[in-house]
Amino acid sequence: MTEREWTPKIVAFCCNWCSYGGADTAGMGRFQQPASTRVIRVMCSGRIDPLHVFNAFLEGADAVLVTGCHIGDCHYVNGNEKTQVKYQFLEEMLQQLGLEPDRLHLNWISASEGERFANFINEVTAKVKELGPSPLKPAGVR
């Protein structure tokens, strides 16, 4: 296998109704992205548990994305508002783990915002590339 440039591994939690659809729309629009991101679908961003984010970092994620519907658009009224509150806790947790702030992002992306989704992935990947692999990544993991 040829030597390839290091690409970060990014875990993106997406809600079924908005940001997952945004990722789909990015595909339909053929908005090219680096092959860094693995999407995990949940019904609502409110389902995203700090446990999941923690685990992603411990398993080797170089960054984690928490995404959902725009405020006011959550399919379950206001799950994303609860996500927002939880996110503050996640940011603090990140700091305590000694991780750079750019390794965790929150973004609201609607099902039609394919280009926004792609731009987001492009931007985060570029930032994380600069940071290099996560210090929490277990040895030998890819």
């Binding site: 992205q33 092959a35 999407v39 548990d49 993991v141």
Partner: protein
């Protein structure tokens, strides 16, 4: 709620036998992903009994192969790696169910939208990523559990929001199929924008002459209950079982007593130089009927200008007027919802585009429709605003607020034809008038439309390819439009007596409110978004909610009416069957672990949770399966089915691997 019998033999104890089907989707996936390499890799993973590549997994042949493999190999988990679950999950769930596998034991992996289409030129990366995505899916599939969806009864009534031509058509069709319809219209009359138009392309028949009878038909239909001057303020529930709260705004008269005779209007001493129906042109009284063909033909009072003189109260022979009337509310039980809330025309005033708002003699096409209308404020005599004289040189400017990166990039689709129409009507009425159309491209698809364009050319209407770069006014209030004609490369200084801006369609504020109440997705252009741009043009991603007409994006009348009928057909499927299936995904509590802290209770937006004897109680019928409570529980007592922690964590874990894959 009745539980439907589904095949859910408990295969938990059985050996896991996963079948993985990797779709090439022609070259959509295979163009970037080496599907055979993916299948080879997947076959090495634990619990995978078979892993095969299909040309098109969703085709008849592909589905037959899945069913055959289930039978022959005794598969108890099925994974398909192809496109998006948003469109194809129901298809594959049904497929495995037919072969005896519980639909929730099916796992979907997206390697098209999320892989091949976004890494089109990185074959190696795309293939590696696809392997990982499928690996994540295999890990999750191993942990899936059978679930049952429940069958719920459907209330035999439809709510149609917005009574323009689209909503009227939807209401009529649903009603004619024998179902109750509540038709809610925010304005005082049904009819929408079409009621305001003069003639309609491509046949130039009078708009209200074809719409008026339809409006009467709606009013006469026994199954339709019109709720005019009303708005939807709350909607709860789910397919088959929605509850809607409707606000009825006060008209300040008893709609059952008023006959629309107009005696009150005659006597009212207050007049404003403004009419909604005539796009601001003309004047109306404080008590008025919206327009002569209004349905319902009832008056209403504009309280913002009423001086409480009581003249109307005296004039009304039926004692209908009630100045103390308050807004009222009704609560409706609804099975399905159709949203047909229409559009607004683009407003060029804030940016004074093409001098609009600065110069009197620059108007919009909508104003022009009222000016040339025989029952409009000028009785159909086209005059220009500055001096009320007939204009001799009139120019239409196309794509105002459309196809413009500074406002809206989309094409509003009807405005080329609308200007061709108005230009023709002018030429017919005033043959000596010089008529110009300033355009970027003339767009005239569909039957008789290109012919319509040719007719306009033959009538002597002049087409200038280019739009005014600069617009000024001279001392006679004539408009000077400076245009580069991109066909002749000449700069033209066109002097016009009247310039008409062919404004496009925009999504209105009022429909944004409805959109948020219903949680329908919004497309990039601001209009409501359909479930699939081709296959499900009037469905939304929400079961039992449909969209049609201008609500879904700019379109003309024939297209709007088709969508109105389409909405009716799609919605009536539920009403006719009288039942619907709901998702089996809900949340469950482990009472042994729950400590009764109550942290989860306020998390639920649907009041499904409460504490009972210091333990959590879940009203499953109210749970919509968002999982927000689960993420909040500090003890791990809650689990969301199909999105259990162990399932999600298995996915997370399998993003990563040691060494090469």
């Amino acid at each position: 709620m009745t539980q439907k019998e589904t095949k859910t033999e408990n295969k938990q104890e059985e050996e896991l036998r996963i079948g993985a089907f990797i779709c090439e989707c022609g070259i959509n996936i295979a163009g970037a992903v080496d599907c055979y390499a993916v299948a080879d890799y997947i076959s090495t993973l634990p619990n995978v009994t078979t892993s095969v590549v299909n040309k098109y997994t969703c085709s008849d042949a592909g589905q037959a192969e899945i069913k055959k493999a289930i039978k022959d190999l005794n598969l108890n988990r099925v994974l398909v790696a192809s496109c998006t679950p948003k469109t194809h999950e129901p298809i594959f769930r049904a497929c495995v169910e037919e072969a005896g596998v519980n639909p929730y034991l099916f796992e979907f992996v997206n390697i098209r939208e999320h892989c091949s289409w976004i890494h089109m030129w990185e074959k190696e990366d795309a293939t590696e990523k696809a392997k990982e995505l499928v690996r994540m899916g295999v890990a999750r599939a191993a942990l899936l559990e059978p679930l049952e969806s429940s069958e719920v009864p459907v209330t035999d009534a439809a709510l149609v929001i917005g009574a323009g031509v689209t909503g009227m058509q939807a209401a009529l069709d649903i009603a004619d199929m024998g179902h109750k319809v509540y038709l809610v219209e925010q304005g005082p009359s049904i009819g929408g924008k079409m009621a305001q138009l003069d003639k309609t392309f491509p046949t130039n028949d009078c708009s209200i002459c074809i719409l008026g009878p339809k409006m009467v038909e709606v009013a006469r239909n026994k199954n339709i209950e019109i709720m005019s001057y009303s708005e939807v303020v709350e909607v709860d529930g789910y397919v088959g079982n929605f509850k809607a709260k409707i606000k009825h705004k006060p008209r300040y008269l008893d709609i059952n007593e008023c006959t629309g005779c107009g005696l009150c209007t005659e006597k009212c001493p207050v007049e404003v130089p403004y009419t909604e129906f005539n796009e601001g042109i003309g004047a109306r009284k404080a008590i008025y009927t919206p327009f002569p063909q209004a349905v319902p033909l009832r008056a209403l009072v504009d309280k913002s200008i009423c001086i409480d003189c009581g003249a109307c109260i005296k004039a009304c022979e039926r004692g209908a007027i009630d100045m103390d009337q308050k807004e009222t509310f009704s609560e409706l039980d609804i099975g399905v919802i159709v949203v047909t809330a229409g559009f607004d025309v683009y407003d060029p005033e804030p940016k004074n585009e093409f001098g609009f708002g600065l110069y009197d003699n620059v108007i919009t096409t909508m104003e022009f429709e009222r000016l040339i209308n025989a029952s409009g404020p000028t009785m159909g005599k086209v005059v220009r605003p500055s001096d009320v004289k007939p204009p001799k040189r009139i120019g239409f400017v196309q794509c105002v607020g459309s196809r413009d990166k500074n406002s809206h990039i989309y094409c509003s689709s009807f405005c080329c034809m609308a200007s061709l129409k108005n230009a023709q009507l002018l030429k017919e009425k005033y043959p000596d008038t010089e008529v110009y159309i300033m355009y970027m491209d003339m767009r005239t698809p569909f039957r008789m439309y290109e012919e319509y364009y040719n007719r306009a050319r033959n009538m002597g209407i002049r087409f200038i390819r280019g739009r005014p770069a600069e617009v000024t006014e001279n001392e006679d209030h004539n408009i000077i439009a400076r245009i580069e004609d991109t066909l002749t490369n000449e700069i033209v200084n066109l002097e016009l007596d009247l310039m008409v801006l062919s404004v496009g369609a925009v999504a209105p504020e009022s429909t944004e409110t409805v959109r948020q109440i219903l949680k329908v997705s919004k497309a990039a252009d601001g209009f409501m978004m359909e479930a699939h741009p081709k296959l499900k043009p009037v469905d939304t991603t929400l079961d039992g909610i449909f969209i049609g007409g201008m609500t879904q994006g700019p379109k003309d009348i024939p297209y709007s009416i088709s969508q109105g009928s389409a909405c009716a057909a799609r919605a009536t499927r539920f009403l006719a069957q009288g039942k619907a299936l709901t998702e089996g995904i809900t949340t469950k509590v482990d009472k042994d672990i729950c400590v009764g802290c109550g942290v989860c209770v306020p998390m639920c937006p649907f009041q499904a949770l409460s504490l009972e004897n210091d333990k959590l109680k879940i009203l499953t019928a109210l749970c919509k399966g968002c999982g927000t409570c689960v993420a909040a529980c500090p003890t791990g007592a809650l689990e969301q089915s199909h999105f259990k922690n162990e399932q999600l964590l298995a996915q997370v874990k399998n993003v990563f691997a040691y060494g090469e894959v």
